[in-house]
């Protein structure tokens, strides 16, 4: 396979959109395959991969629909490539079944959702965080998901790399939740050099693995089975039915339970590696503004300007929204009197915040759900009201 491009030999500042930063981040992380379907406001991601992937011998596929795009990236992942797809809310809905399949067969893939206002066709060119619960619960059955939410173009780049790495490390589909503002925003960012980036590749069976002994869904200590590329001679079966360690369905309830538990625990035993956040909470802050994605830009702006007027407020920004940072939010709730949760929806993640806070702090939402960013003055007004 031809690979002529060495990734970013020197560090440089560029002005790019969040959507383009996803492309740059994915390429930096070793992604060689994209399949998807055009949709506003994510089409720039497809266009970027169409342009860049052939340069490194990678593959770009524009599929006949969103479902096929999701299917094709899972196929490419099983064939050994790091693969990614990108969409927006309506397309994300169509991808859900095969996203559940990826979870079941433990295929590392990244699904980017550049959120726009829904339901249905909604407002295609306006920002939203309305797919938070779709990411968590959009599929049939219980299952874990990892979802990251960048709040800037720089974070779109960094968290794409992180998303690819997490997917490879845990054999787990990862959702990257941008929104229209972050996807289309142009910001100055510094692209990393190749030696600055940590790249994680999936664990594969040893080269001398005996095909007769290979268990594609082996119960290992870390709960993450080594994954063979199709064509490597191990001839294994992959199915969306509950399967035992051999990969074959046996229809037994015990097998289903064992697998459900393993899929859950492989993430929950490693939450410290998965849950990413940033915060600036001072000892005497009485209010924390907890946010994610573009709403965090408003939150941090309101807190920083408020502090100039001596408001006792701090901010907490979630970069990982799923699995939810329960422990961290519980600690936060013990520390402050009030948690304000600004969201570009009618109040989705706030349910989790309330659950984790468990009455230790008052939890208040600020919501914008008709296509506009929340303005810093709106959060400022609430800060002044509660302080």
């Amino acid at each position: 396979m031809m690979k002529t491009k060495i990734f970013r030999p020197e560090k440089r500042a560029v002005l790019i959109q969040g959507d383009q930063a996803v492309v740059e981040g994915a390429l930096a992380a070793g992604v060689e395959f994209f399949a998807g379907y055009p949709i506003t406001p994510a089409s720039e991601i497809a266009e970027g991969f169409a342009r860049e992937l052939p340069k490194i011998g990678g593959k770009f596929l524009q599929m006949e629909d969103e479902i096929a795009g999701m299917a094709a990236v899972v196929g490419a992942s099983l064939a050994g490539k790091k693969a990614i797809t990108a969409t927006s809310g309506p397309g994300f809905a169509l991808k859900q079944e095969n996203l559940g399949f990826a979870t079941m067969v433990e295929a590392p893939v990244v699904v980017v959702n550049v959120q726009r206002v829904g339901p249905s066709t909604g407002l295609p060119t306006s920002p939203s965080q309305g797919d938070v619960m779709q990411a968590r619960w959009g599929r049939n059955g219980d299952q874990e998901i990892i979802a990251l939410a960048p709040a800037s173009v720089t974070e779109s780049y960094e968290l794409t790399i992180k998303a690819v790495n997490l997917s490879e490390k845990f054999r787990q589909p990862v959702v990257l939740m941008l929104d229209e503002v972050i996807g289309h925003l142009r910001e100055k960012i510094y692209l990393s050099t190749s030696d600055e980036i940590e790249i994680i590749d999936r664990k594969r069976p040893a080269a001398d693995q005996d095909p007769d002994q290979y268990l594609p869904y082996q119960l290992t200590d870390d709960l993450i089975p080594p994954m063979a590329d199709y064509g490597s001679g191990l001839k294994y079966h992959t199915s969306g039915l509950f399967h035992d360690q051999s990969g074959f369905p046996d229809g037994k309830n015990e097998t289903a339970k064992l697998m459900q538990d393993r899929l859950h625990n492989k993430l929950h035993n490693n939450l410290d590696q998965i849950i990413l956040y940033q915060k600036d909470i001072r000892k005497d802050d009485r209010v924390a503004v907890l946010s994610y994605g573009s709403a965090a830009r408003t939150a941090i702006s309101a807190v920083n300007t408020g502090r100039k007027d001596n408001l006792k407020a701090g901010w907490f920004k979630l970069q990982t929204i799923w699995p939810f940072a329960e422990k961290e939010v519980a600690e936060l709730a013990a520390q402050v009197e009030t948690i304000i949760v600004p969201e570009l929806n009618q109040g989705q993640l706030i349910r989790e915040v309330k659950r984790a806070a468990a009455g230790q702090a008052k939890v208040l939402g600020i919501n914008s759900y008709a296509g506009e960013l929340i303005k810093p003055e709106e959060i400022r007004a609430l800060l002044e009201e509660v302080l």
Partner: protein
């Protein structure tokens, strides 16, 4: 010849009903594969949901049992990711022409090098006999208790019209022809499609009083005719018979999708990119 190495013997017996034609298709496929010079280790077989979907479990290759209707879309990803792999899709008439119909025509349009074997038993068997796009008009099904008013597809013409470069039709009453068709389809560089007429005495046959497997196979033979003979029939006579054999074959490996994409890669790297 050692056919057992292509089967996961420990997974047998299969779950298909007595009299089902799907085992005949699997048998013919294995014989065809054994005659081909393809590497078993470099072959991936992909299926969807339904009776046909279970075929992959019995085959000793890298096998992928996907979601309903999406086998061809998964296969497209596998083939593009690694064009050295020989990728085969096993699908059914419901899986491949109803819920997966869009993927079927678009894969044919791209002319990507997949071999699609469509098990056509004219019914949704696994779910208990609902009508599919291939259930003949007027027949009975659990969801057509007063007779099916839907028209059925001519799948071979559909896929040919979409741009598939190898189109064939075989039937389980003639496994030797099926084997020949599969072998030719495997060798073809481009999108190849073999509609494989199969019998379902349980979910289709009982509702339509079609008799047992033997009677259904006899009917299959009556309803079909060799493609060369079919071509000599009058327009009216043609409507009464399904032609069997290779119906379309365009040999142009350069038009295959992964080959064309590879040319893009070479072009970008030789000429410099955008």
């Amino acid at each position: 010849m050692d056919f057992e190495k292509y089967l996961r013997m420990d997974k047998l017996p299969h779950i298909w009903c007595p009299g089902c034609g799907h085992g005949t298709i699997l048998n013919s496929f294995i014989r065809a594969f054994a005659e081909s010079d393809f590497d078993q280790d470099k072959t991936v077989v992909i299926s969807g949901i339904g009776c046909s979907g279970r075929a992959t479990g019995y085959l000793n290759f890298d096998t992928l049992h996907t979601t309903h209707g999406r086998a061809i879309a998964f296969a497209t990803g596998v083939k593009m990711a690694n064009p050295e792999l020989n990728v085969i899709v096993m699908t059914g008439d419901g899986d491949g022409s109803a819920i997966g119909g869009n993927h079927l025509i678009h894969a044919a349009r791209r002319n990507i090098d997949l071999t699609v074997i469509l098990f056509n038993n004219q019914i949704y068997g696994m779910t208990g006999g609902q009508f599919s796009p291939m259930t003949p008009t007027g027949d009975l099904a659990s969801t057509a208790p007063y007779g099916n008013i839907d028209q059925n597809f001519n799948l071979a013409e559909l896929v040919a019209g979409a741009g598939g470069t190898f189109i064939a039709r075989g039937a389980t009453f003639d496994p030797r022809q099926l084997k020949k068709l599969y072998l030719a389809a495997l060798k073809h560089k481009g999108f190849s499609f073999v509609e494989s007429l199969s019998q379902c005495p349980v979910s289709y046959g009982r509702q339509n009083k079609a008799g047992d497997a033997v009677e259904m196979l006899k009917k299959q033979e009556e309803d079909t005719i060799n493609f060369k003979k079919w071509q000599q029939l009058s327009t009216e006579e043609k409507k009464l018979k399904y032609p069997l054999g290779i119906l379309k074959e365009l040999d142009n490996p350069e038009s295959e999708y992964t080959v064309r994409y590879q040319k893009i890669i070479e072009q970008v790297n030789n000429e410099g990119a955008l």
